[in-house]
Symmetry: C2
Subunit: 596 residues, 2 copies
């Protein structure tokens, strides 16, 4: 008998005649004509094992006892399957194992759901039994891909002279940004650590430490209300460099992605990636992360319709807004009035007051608003939107932000529904020239659009105080198929500029000192020019694996309420644990706890 | 002028005549005979730059303004140093840069300490300005080595078909073991996550998920009172496998270490590593992590002296204890009575009541207790301890645990002080056959010596309830130069055995269910036989780098009171942050907070 264990999924016709020892899980058992057939599964795949009383009565008797998901060890011989019984769906389908011995390593109760490629079991049950769900081939493949992608990125960065370095997870809370997860200190009564939202400050300090090229596959934490594509802890490819320009960093990132796609998908990715300014992305795609796999672009027709007899158009422009349109090529006949009403309801989600439309037929624009459009306007629209007979034109007239957001969302929806998207494409895009600040109307203050350490364009430094809304950042986002894959920037490395930034953001000198004093001091002790980028690994893997659920790419994910259904974390802890941490529960939390 | 930046430390005679662009830090500036000399430092090393008014008056004028740690960009030509001015201590010492241009990228205040290889600055100040300390060459080298070691380990494991996988950091608190760091939940009022002390349960679940070979360079957390060689967060090389035997896992680990030492130290490590049972390690070295780089072994002389006229010896044995001795070869003359008194004080730290001694001279054993030792005992001792003239024998008689611990510590101390240790050796050792349980006298209960998931030796399963103190674990520790580098075990994969283990540890069925219900259920759904190992990366790097302080191997370490002196974490947080987390500070913590 063979001593060394073989992997089931690797057996082929070339192994016929060999003795093998296999270990794995019983995927399926069938009894047929006095024989027993077992599909044996391990990490490499599945092979069929046959128990024949003429080979071993004893093995057959034991095989009779095995059930789905039993863990077994099998000795046998690789034999060719009989003509007509080969299975082309299985990589091992030309052979089978004639079993001589079997031993049961561990039993299994009947699992709550079957381990098969496609599962219609509820996600809740699958998350509770995550270890069963993970035995399914599509998830096994996803985590092999995740491994491969991670190593490809490491190999690239290692060869490019980067050092992988670990930054602390017990750090200081910096309220600017998202909400921190806090960790009470036992030693320092009443004080808390925070889990990092990103290693931002530490990677800048690493540059100030003279390492020049740093990366980390870094765990990050955000205590936010979760959407489908967010997790409380996530992983980012975190990179920082000294003395490199924006172009250097974007070029390095492109080479990294090229290497990754080659390693993981065998694809030759064309570089350089297209670059688009933020303003252009918003104008043409109504999105700061355009999906460029399909057209259906927004066209700003404000100039054409600014004096239109259609008061909704003229009025929007008069109040400082704009009018944009998308041309749904050749689909006029496919959209009934009722269909368009549904689209109107859709854009209203984004604050649009309505959706105007025109259909091109017989060289004319038709529809309820056609009568307000004069000949000159009609000609200009047809030209600007490259209208042909059979086209459907959709318009939103409103504040520009609403026009862009609503039409951008509508574009995405139509692209998907009309199947305009090439699902095999990997369209990378840089979005550059970001605004430095975002204005919060409610709080009447400016926030850093990126983060407070982002370097403004040199020529916009004056604007930071005069016209903050016009100041541009030396920042760049990398977009893949309409997802924000990551982003980065050059950082401020001069003390005076950082002071000015905090001032614009409304920090008093004391607040800036309390929260970021160590950084401000470091800027005065030989801080090099530096910048970097961070890319979301979970999302990257999701896109590479062609999946749409971020939870499929995280080994033990949490639900939308940040719970782990498997381990039931978070959970209540003992009074003595709280006491040691100098904490008491608030009244309501106390009651909740006592209800149990 | 050269467009592409070169690295200072890489320049050699072969570059003479080339134009270069350098960027980096001013290590030192000297003015000499109308010239200015700047030592320019970057991540690659240091090169000398010369400013000569005959080459560029302008550059000289700017160079006059630069100070230590200024960040500068320099264009110049690589030239040979004049005879007599070469510097053999510097890799670039045969050349220098004749500067044509210099620009100041950033200024620096006078740093609080100089960036030089050896520093006598207090560790406190160095930690506060960690980014300056990290610019020092020995620390730069340590983190390059850490990077290299990490990648070597990954390469080995990737080639051995392991998958790198990420386990959650927001997990469930399991009070068994060390103290958890807790993270309050905002969504689930009164509930807490815990940061993992290790990914133990998750890596077992990964085996139950069918991945078979997992690894992770994993961050772990323990809220313990810190000793010099502990940190609240640390990194371990975490490995788990299915279907492998103890020997398979130890063999794989040895191959990994062999690969690592080859890559990082260029060393051929002999394998297999020696193996020693726990009992033998305690008996011969008085330690469960023996430093085998030197002898000075403990010899149990209980049988020889059990009827000794020296009542301290006979008495200890009569009350169930023992007597052991170490022979300090040829050092009798070096230890005065006063010296030996000091050693006596030392062993008292470990609970020994005293230290008996004998010196061998003229074929006789001499010293205050010599008169109680009869001829037969003397001959036997001389034989057992291989005594020659000039040897010093040191004895402890006590409970066996005290004998072993105190003499083990004394052995280590003498080994160091007498310089018996080969500092260049890397002595690996496996310690096997560990006790399954530890008995806590105070609490009168058994604890898991390793953790509650450790598989007992099959033949000791009965003993778990009958004679727990005799039950052995299928566990193994890997020891390097007297440090516990890591440890592992086979795990329990059968529900009944795991139930039994929790029972011995004093868990009620309900407690076991509440804390580990998900694991118990997974054991009944096709859990494969599995086991693994975890190695401390920080300590491994410390030993590879030949350093003695764990903080030197962690980029941003914490102090013994778990503070970060650089960022001043942990820190107080706002009332609203606490409120959102449904927490109130305890009375004392509130007062502490208000004092600020």
């Amino acid at each position: 008998m063979s001593e060394q264990r073989q992997l089931s999924g690797h057996l082929r016709e070339s192994h016929i005649g060999q003795q093998v020892k296999l270990k794995g899980w019983v995927q399926k058992r069938r009894d047929l004509g006095g024989l027993i057939f077992v599909d044996l599964r391990d990490r490499s795949g599945v092979v069929q094992v046959v128990f024949n009383p003429e080979v071993s009565e004893e093995a057959l008797n034991i095989a009779e006892k095995v059930r789905t998901e039993y863990v077994v060890e099998i000795d046998g011989e690789v034999v060719a399957r009989q003509a007509g019984t080969t299975n082309d769906n299985l990589e091992t389908g030309k052979i089978e194992i004639m079993a001589q011995h079997i031993s049961i390593l561990n039993k299994s109760k009947n699992p709550p759901f079957l381990i098969q490629d496609e599962s219609d079991t509820s996600e809740e049950l699958r998350l509770k039994y995550r270890y069963l769900d993970l035995r399914r081939k599509p998830l096994q493949e996803t985590f092999k891909l995740r491994h491969k992608a991670t190593q490809a990125i490491r190999t690239f960065l290692n060869n490019d002279d980067f050092l992988e370095m670990e930054t602390p997870l017990l750090t200081k809370s910096t309220p600017e940004g998202a909400r921190d997860y806090l960790v009470p200190s036992r030693v320092h009564e009443g004080a808390f650590y925070a889990l990092p939202q990103s290693p931002q400050l530490f990677k800048q300090l690493i540059m100030m430490s003279g390492f020049e090229k740093y990366y980390q596959i870094a765990r990050c934490f955000r205590d936010e209300d979760l959407r489908a594509d967010r997790q409380p802890e996530f992983t980012q490819i975190d990179i920082e460099t000294s003395f490199m320009t924006k172009d250097d960093i974007m070029d390095m990132t492109e080479r990294m992605m090229k290497h990754l796609l080659k390693e993981v998908k065998g694809m030759d990715l064309p570089t350089p990636f297209p670059r688009m300014k933020y303003d252009e992305a918003m104008e043409r795609y109504g999105s700061d992360k355009p999906d460029t796999r399909f057209d259906l672009e927004l066209v700003n027709v404000s100039e054409i319709v600014q004096h239109s007899g259609f008061k909704v158009f003229a009025g929007a422009i008069e109040s400082g807004g704009s009018v944009s349109s998308i041309n749904v090529k050749g689909k006029a006949a496919d959209f009934s009035r009722k269909d368009i009403d549904k689209l109107t309801d859709f854009v209203k989600i984004y604050g649009a007051k309505g959706l105007a439309w025109l259909k091109a037929d017989n060289g004319e624009l038709q529809g309820p608003i056609a009568k307000f459009i004069n000949d000159e306007e009609s000609t200009s629209l047809r030209h600007a939107l490259q209208v042909e007979d059979g086209d459907l034109l959709l318009f939103v007239a409103d504040k520009t932000a609403i026009v862009q957001e609503s039409l951008g969302a509508l574009r995405q929806k139509l692209g998907k529904e009309l199947q305009l998207i090439d699902e095999n494409a990997f369209n990378f895009l840089w979005v550059t020239d970001w605004p430095l600040f975002e204005y919060d109307e409610e709080l009447d203050r400016y926030f850093a659009a990126h983060h407070p350490f982002t370097m403004p364009e040199r020529e916009d430094v004056e604007k930071m105080t005069d016209k903050p809304y016009e100041a541009r950042a030396q920042a760049y986002d990398i977009v893949l198929n309409g997802y924000e894959l990551g982003g980065g920037s050059l950082r401020i490395y001069e003390k005076e500029l950082q002071d000015k930034m905090f001032e614009v953001l409304g920090f008093t000198k004391e607040e800036a000192q309390n929260q970021f004093g160590f950084l401000l001091e470091a800027l005065e002790l030989g801080a090099p020019p530096h910048g970097g980028i961070a890319l979301g690994l979970d999302r990257l893997v999701m896109l590479l694996a062609g999946r749409s659920n971020l939870r499929d790419t995280i080994l033990f994910p949490k639900t939308a309420s940040a719970s782990c259904l498997l381990t039931e974390a978070p959970d209540y802890v003992s009074e003595s644990q709280l006491h040691e941490l100098h904490l008491e529960l608030g009244e309501k939390a106390k009651e909740k706890r006592q209800e149990l």
